[in-house]
């Protein structure tokens, strides 16, 4: 598997990462290098092996259904560039 320039531009756009035109060909080379490495891993036979999700066997931590947080609207919007009455304000988005 390898990527071309169009794919690099598309992936960057999906991730909202600004990529200048003169960076694209370099990124194609870097990403193809990574994909080549992953392809090597593909040579290992993993038939019948469950995908590993953690290096130590452990169960997911869970919590009770209780309200223990919230009531801090000022903190939540503290870093926002624009607010009004504890709302975040963002450039208008209407579909």
């Amino acid at each position: 598997m390898s990527v071309d320039e169009a794919t690099v531009r598309r992936v960057a756009r999906l991730a909202r990462i600004a990529v200048e035109d003169d960076q694209v060909s370099g990124l194609v080379g870097e990403l193809n290098g990574i994909l080549g490495f992953v392809e090597q891993l593909n040579e290992v036979d993993v038939d019948g092996v469950e995908p590993m999700t953690s290096v130590t066997p452990m169960a997911m931590k869970m919590r009770e259904d209780a309200v223990t947080d919230g009531g801090k609207a000022d903190d939540i919007v503290a870093n926002a560039p624009a607010t009004d009455d504890s709302y975040f304000l963002v450039p208008k988005v209407v579909e």
Binding site: R13, M60, M62, E64, V93
Partner: protein
């Protein structure tokens, strides 16, 4: 996913086009808010409303370094819902990130379940025109709700409130088994009933606790599935019906004019009754799902599932069949009574130790009819089960006629009080004294000699006389006694 068509094409459900009949194919994704106090991955409140960003933790706002911790109650409710839909329960499931950008989604992804949902295939039975149809459920998965954007507060800015961000939703995905707008409405109604019986979602569509994405396509009867359009976020059962009707018609007209249906997301506008394209760019739907590295797989054992199963209530289908078998109710009446758990509980309280069919008639026709007329919810019903039962007892022991009983019910509704006491105090007791009734009968016959003559030839006319005598007695005469006396006196052969 391979789509299997489980239905026979039924002409009764077709819609007409210029080139012949068309079949509507509908599949639904219903988002049901879990009835939890706190959110799926944070301890902030799920309460509806609230000041902007007040029910928000740093997790819900996606502040750097915050980690999600799952709410066990939400998992239990998803399993409970799965059991209620007689679905497979997956003891291992996985949370994935669904990536997209929108201002009300601070994480830049929604935590959802993609390849391994917590609940697999199940079934919902719906009643359409007296016919029972099994609709397949594909899966139920748990996911986070997004925040809310307001676009009408400012000329150039949108307002974002994250109070809903992170609230637990169950996405209940049907198979494309629905074949008309009526079936789709019946499906959501039934699903809502089951969720309310289970208590896993309050089903409140006005507050957005239940909303549906509706997938619609059309095809020539029995032919290949057509291209579907997804109508997003329809928030009332009536609108779901309207949206499907309009969208199916739009697609038929488009195809018959030589066009093709584009797979796209559309919005339903309740004001115009039409759907319109959201014109999203195609790549916006490349969600690049991958397992969320912040969360281990969701695992539980069979004992966990068995404990939940042990607390399931009697479900609407089982209750309906019990009402039909134990009480001899019709499928229709039983269906109406089990539509809401509170209604069926009320009915059972009234029917206890009484004629169940009579109780069903009074609950459905008089009580529900009256509630509906005044727009009152059953929870605010002024007539208790004991009071309605008291009215029925008075009919059963012959103290009052059915007609007077309606008046007594009305008095209880308006003023309250004990039905027997009301009948006693207001002199509404049925007159069974034959002498008194006989006098009234004689009077009415004497006043209408021509009609009495006609009634000999046409016994049907006796009904008119019964009416006159009842009127003269102010409804208190026993109608059977009146009928018999009239027949004897006029001389109508049996």
């Amino acid at each position: 996913m391979t789509i299997v068509d489980t239905r026979e094409a039924d002409p009764a459900r077709f819609i007409k086009g210029a080139t012949g009949d068309w079949e509507i194919i509908v599949g639904m994704e219903v988002h049901a808010q879990v009835s939890s106090k706190s959110k799926l991955f944070s301890g902030a409140s799920t309460e509806f409303g609230g000041e902007p960003n007040d029910h928000v933790s740093l997790v819900d706002a996606a502040m750097p370094g915050m980690l999600p911790v799952i709410n066990m109650f939400c998992v239990e409710q998803a399993v409970r819902t799965g059991l209620g839909l007689k679905a497979e329960i997956n003891n291992t499931s996985v949370f994935d990130r669904k990536n997209y950008f929108y201002p009300d989604l601070p994480q830049g992804y929604q935590i959802s379940q993609f390849k391994q949902p917590v609940v697999g295939e199940g079934t919902i039975l719906i009643d359409v025109d007296g016919e029972e149809v099994a609709i397949g459920v594909e899966r139920i998965h748990l996911e986070q709700d997004a925040g809310k954007s307001l676009h009408d507060q400012h000329p150039t800015m949108s307002f974002v409130d994250l109070n809903r961000s992170g609230v637990a939703l169950m996405e209940i995905v049907s198979k494309p088994d629905l074949r008309s707008s009526e079936e789709a409405r019946a499906y959501v109604t039934k699903l809502r009933t089951i969720l309310r019986y289970l208590g896993t979602c309050d089903g409140n569509m006005e507050e957005g606790s239940l909303r549906a994405d509706v997938n619609v396509s059309v095809r020539k009867p029995g032919g290949k599935f057509g291209t579907r359009c997804e109508i997003k976020n329809v928030n009332s059962i009536r609108f779901i019906g309207q949206a499907i009707e309009h969208e199916a018609r739009r697609q038929v007209d488009l195809i018959e004019d030589g066009g093709t249906v584009d797979q796209e997301t559309r919005l339903f506008d309740p004001k115009s009754g039409k759907t319109r394209s959201m014109r999203s760019k195609e790549e916006a739907h490349d969600y690049r799902y991958f397992p969320d590295p912040d969360l281990l797989p969701l695992e539980f054992d069979d004992a966990f599932v068995a404990d939940i199963r042990a607390t399931l209530p009697e479900l609407p289908d089982d209750k309906k069949h019990r009402f039909m078998e134990a009480f001899g109710l019709t499928a229709y009446d039983a269906g109406v009574l089990v539509g809401e758990r509170a209604t069926s509980d009320f009915f059972e309280a009234v029917a206890e130790g009484r004629d169940a069919k009579l109780a069903a008639n009074w609950v459905i026709n008089d009580l529900l009819g009256r509630l509906n007329k005044d727009g009152v919810e059953l929870a605010d019903n002024p007539v208790s089960a004991d009071q309605l039962g008291g009215v029925i007892d008075l009919i059963a022991d012959g103290t009052i006629s059915g007609k007077i009983a309606k008046d007594v019910f009305e008095i209880v509704w308006e003023e309250g009080g004990d039905p027997a006491g009301i009948v006693e105090a207001r002199g509404l007791k049925q007159v069974t004294d034959t002498g008194a009734i006989e006098a009234l009968v004689d009077e009415v016959i004497a006043a209408n000699p021509d009609k009495a003559q006609q009634a000999k030839e046409k016994p049907g006319l006796v009904g008119w006389f019964v009416g006159q005598v009842m009127k003269a007695s102010q409804g208190k005469a026993n109608p059977q006694a009146v009928n018999q006396l009239l027949r004897d006196k006029i001389g109508i052969a049996e």
